[in-house]
């Protein structure tokens, strides 16, 4: 798997990091042991626009699968992001409060939102999309949006 898969629709190019899993809403999950770092995909951040505010649930919060882990307000929309895993938040990126634009600038790196200690990663992983599956999902969404 390459570091990034890429797709261009209209004048926009979207990247999909090849080392992680994705929800249909564009939340990525990068696992290290039972720790899962999460963030917003390049496609979702471009589609949503410049981030004004990002509020992530505090460290210690227990989350069920799909339960709201963060809200993001952009110049276009307000988004509620569901957790890709069941578990407990053990770290929140301080940049979310100070410089949330990092989500737009580096969605797969410095723009991460939180680290969750997963209860059952293997079970949750089975519900997530592989990079290739997300690429296809994203392509369909991007092409649909381009028609409008």
């Amino acid at each position: 798997m390459p570091d990034f898969l890429e797709m261009t629709v209209d004048k926009f190019t979207f990247k999909v990091a090849g080392d992680r899993f994705y929800t249909a809403e564009g939340v990525w999950a990068l696992v290290d042991g039972n720790r899962v770092r999460i963030g917003l995909s390049d496609f979702q951040q471009q589609r949503s626009g410049d981030v004004a505010f990002a509020e992530v649930k505090p460290t210690g919060t227990r989350l069920a699968l799909d339960e709201e882990v963060a809200t993001i307000e952009t110049i276009k929309v307000n988004i509620s992001l569901g957790s890709p895993v069941t578990g407990r938040i053990i770290e929140v990126n301080p940049a979310m409060a100070d410089a949330p634009e990092v989500i737009n600038l580096e969605p797969y790196e410095a723009g991460w939102m939180a680290v969750i200690e997963a209860d059952h990663w293997k079970d949750d992983q089975a519900r997530l999309m592989t990079p290739l599956a997300y690429l296809a999902h994203m392509k369909a969404q991007a092409e649909e949006a381009a028609k409008k």
Partner: protein
């Protein structure tokens, strides 16, 4: 007869931002500063006229302090002023101002909601302060 030099003015260039809420905030702030807060000290220059190459608009940038207001990260106003050879004293991004005034969430495009207008006023007041400082630092010279 003694000829008095024209008072120095700060040029304000907002983004066009047609169809964008933050672009509308940019324009409203520009109107507020040039028509209400500092009408004698500022001069509004249209980004569209700069893009078209209008000579008088481009001439207004020569030797004048310029403040740009951009609604999004494309920063069209800032880029265009630079391309025209203007000197930008400060560029303002609506989004950054909004982060300081979270209570004023702008909505609407052709007509901003009340919060959007309040955000535009807050931005215009920040710009007014910069206009005062800019003129104090560079006062007494002539431009446009």
């Amino acid at each position: 007869m003694k000829i008095q030099p024209s008072p120095r003015k700060v040029v304000i260039v907002p983004c066009s931002g047609i169809g964008k809420t933050y672009g509308s905030v940019s324009r409203e702030a520009a109107y507020e500063i040039t028509q209400e807060l500092r009408p004698e000290e500022t001069r509004l220059v249209s980004l569209a006229m700069l893009v078209l190459g209008d000579e008088s608009s481009r001439a207004a940038l020569v030797d004048a302090p310029v403040l740009t207001i951009d609604g999004c990260k494309l920063a069209c106003a800032t880029k265009m002023v630079k391309e025209c050879g203007g000197t930008i004293s400060q560029d303002f991004a609506v989004l950054e101002v909004y982060r300081r005034y979270k209570q004023f969430k702008p909505q609407g495009i052709s007509e901003l909601n009340e919060s959007g207008l309040q955000l535009a006023r807050a931005l215009a007041e920040e710009i007014a302060t910069v206009v005062d400082v800019t003129l104090a630092e560079t006062g007494g010279e002539k431009n446009g």
